[in-house]
Amino acid sequence: MSTTTARGVAQPAPAKASPARPRRGLRGNATVNFWLFTGPFLIGLAIFVFVPIVWSIWLSFFDARYTVTPSHFIGFDNYKQILTNSEFPGSLVTFTVFAAFIVPTTWALSLGLALLVNRLRFMRAFFRSVFFLPTAVSYVAAALIWKMSIFSGVRFGLANTVIGWFGADTIAWMSNPTPPWYWLVIVTLRLWIQSGFYMILFLAALQNIPTELYEAAAIDGAKKGWQTFRYITLPQLRATSTAVILLLLIAAYQAFDEFFNIIGQKATWAQTPLMVLYKSALGTSQDYGAGSAGAVILSLLICLVTLIQGKFMGFGRGDESK
C-alpha cells in the first residue's frame, strides 16, 4: 500500500530533486487530500446508507409486494396497514415491556459489579475479566445455552433441576405465554451478555472521581457506605448513568437475535419491532412497502431518542464541568 511512499522517503535526494515543486503543490493541497482521504468512505456511505434510506421512504408510499420497483402509488396506505392490521403496534408494546425490565436491571447490576470490582485489591483483573467475558459471546450462542440447557422446559434443564431440588414442578419456561416466564429467560440472557460491558464504563467513571471528595466527606462526618455512595458516588456518575441508560434503551429497541432464536417468529407473543419488519419484508408476503413504512416509523422514533440523548448528554456535560 505504501511501498512507493516508503521508498521515496528512504532515499529522498535523487528522486525528488527536480519535480519537487509541482508535486508538493498537489500533496499539500487540502481540498485534493480531503477528498482522497474521505472519498472512499463517503461514496460507500452514500450508496449503502443514504440510498437505502431514500429508497425505503419512496417504497413506503407504493404498493411494493414482491417488487422493489413498484409503480402503483398508494399514499399512506402502507403506514395505515402496518399501524392497524399487523403485529407492529404489539411489537412496540413488547419493546416497552422489555425495556422496562432490562434497562433498570442492567444499570443496577453493572453499577453494582463496578463498585465491587473497584474495591478489590487482589485478583481485580481476574474478576473484571470474568464479568466482561460474556461480552464475547454472541446472542445466538447464548440463546442456545439458555434455551437448550438452562431454561430447557423438560426436567434435565438446569433451572428445572434446581427448582426440583426444592420440590417444585417443572416449568415450561418459553413455550407458554401465561404466566410469562419467557421474560425471565430473555432478561437474564441479555443481563449476562451486556452487564460486563457497562461495568467497564462505570469502572472508568469511578476512577475519575477525585479522591479529595471522599476525604472531604470523611472530614465532614459522612459515614462510609451508603452516605458517601448516595451523596458523592452517585451524583458524580450522573453523566455516565444517563449515557448508559440511553445506550441500553437503543440496544433494547433493536433487540432481535435472542427473541428470534428463543421465542421464534411463529409465536404470537414477544415479537420485537425488528422481528415484525423481518417478517413483513422477508417473510412469505415479501411486502417491501409495509416493511419500509415500518422502518421509517422506527427510524423516526430512534431519531427522537437520539435527539433527547443529545440534550441529556449536554446537561450531563454541564454538570461534570461544574
Binding site: 521515496g8 434510506i53 464479568f131 442456545l144 445455552i145 437448550m148 449476562w192 476512577q207 419500509s292
Partner: protein, 288 residues
C-alpha cells in the same frame, strides 16, 4: 488505571477490616460463579453424550467425548466447517476494511483544513441517528438488486461504512499531537505520507482497540447474515447455530460442541487483546 491504584489503597486502609474484605470477596466470588455457569454448561454439554445431558440426575463432570468434535465436522446436515470459514473471512475482511476506510475518513475530517469539512462531518453525524439494524429492509432491497445475495461482497461491503467508527477515529485524531505531523511536514511528507509513516504507527493502540471491537461484532452479527445468507453455503457460524436450534432432529452434544467452537476464537481474542478492548471501551463506549 495504574495511577489510581495507590489512591484506592489509601481509601481502603481506613475503616474496613478483615471481615469487610471477606464479605466483599464472597460477594464477588458468588457473582463470578453465576457468570461462569453458562461457560461451564457449554464445556460440560459439548463433551457429553446425549444420554448424559438428558439424564435424570445432574452429572457435574462430562465423560470427555472428544470424538464429538470430529462428529460435528463430519455431520452432513449442516456444513459447520464451511460456516466457520465464512465467518472468519467475513470478520477479518470487515475488520481490515472498516479500519482502512473509516480511519482515513476520520483523519481527513479531523486534520485536513478543507473549507466544507464541517458540512461533510454533519452529513456523517446525521447517519448516526438511524441505526443500521433498523434500515436492514431497504439495505437488503439494494443489495439484492445488485445481485449480492449469498456472496461475501453482500456480507462484507455494506457493513464497512460505519459512521460511528469514522466518528470515533475523528475524535481520536483531533487529540493526536500536531507537532509530530508538523515535523513530518518539515521533512517533506504530504498528508498521505505523514498519515502512513507518522500517524498510523503512533496510533496502533487505538487501531487495536477498534479492530477488536469490530472483529467481535462482525463475528457475532446475526440479522444481516440471516437476511443475506439464503443458501446454506453462505451461512456464517451464527446462522448455522441458529439452524441447529430449529432443526427437527436435536443432537444435544453436537449443538453444544458447535457453540463451544463458535465461541473459541473470540475467547482467544479476549484473552490476548483485553487490555486494548477495555481501554477502547472506556475511551469510546461512552460516546455511543
Amino acid at each position: 488505571m495504574t495511577t489510581t491504584a495507590p489512591q484506592i489503597g489509601k481509601q481502603r486502609k481506613k475503616g474496613r477490616g478483615v471481615f469487610g474484605n471477606t464479605g466483599l470477596y464472597i460477594a464477588v466470588g458468588v457473582a463470578a460463579l453465576l457468570f461462569l455457569i453458562p461457560f461451564y454448561l457449554i464445556v460440560r454439554n459439548s463433551l457429553s453424550t446425549d444420554l448424559e445431558i438428558t439424564g435424570e440426575n445432574w452429572k457435574v463432570l462430562p465423560s470427555f467425548q472428544w470424538g464429538n468434535i470430529s462428529e460435528l465436522f463430519d455431520d452432513p446436515t449442516v456444513d459447520f466447517g464451511r460456516s466457520m470459514i465464512n465467518s472468519l473471512v467475513v470478520a477479518v475482511l470487515t475488520t481490515f476494511g472498516t479500519l482502512l476506510v473509516c480511519s482515513l475518513a476520520g483523519y481527513g475530517l479531523a486534520r485536513i483544513p478543507y473549507k466544507h469539512a464541517n458540512k461533510v462531518f454533519y452529513a456523517v453525524l446525521a447517519t448516526l441517528m438511524v441505526p443500521t439494524a433498523v434500515t436492514f429492509v431497504p439495505s437488503f432491497v439494494l443489495v439484492s438488486s445488485l445481485g449480492w445475495v449469498d456472496t461475501y461482497r453482500g456480507l462484507i461491503i455494506p457493513g464497512l461504512f460505519s459512521g460511528f467508527t469514522c466518528f470515533l477515529f475523528r475524535q481520536y485524531f483531533l487529540g493526536f499531537p500536531k507537532e509530530l505531523e508538523e515535523a513530518a511536514r518539515v521533512d517533506g511528507l504530504g498528508y498521505w505520507g505523514a498519515y502512513w509513516r507518522i500517524v498510523v504507527p503512533n496510533s496502533l493502540n487505538f487501531f487495536a482497540a477498534i479492530a477488536t471491537i469490530t472483529f467481535i461484532s462482525a463475528w457475532n452479527s446475526f440479522l444481516w447474515p440471516l437476511v443475506i445468507g439464503q443458501d446454506p453455503s453462505s451461512w456464517t457460524v451464527q446462522i448455522a447455530l441458529s439452524s441447529f436450534m430449529t432443526n427437527q432432529t436435536v443432537n444435544f452434544h453436537l449443538i453444544f460442541m458447535a457453540t463451544a467452537i463458535s465461541i473459541l476464537p473470540l475467547i482467544f481474542v479476549f484473552l490476548f487483546l483485553q487490555r486494548w478492548l477495555v481501554q477502547g471501551i472506556a475511551q469510546t463506549g461512552i460516546k455511543g
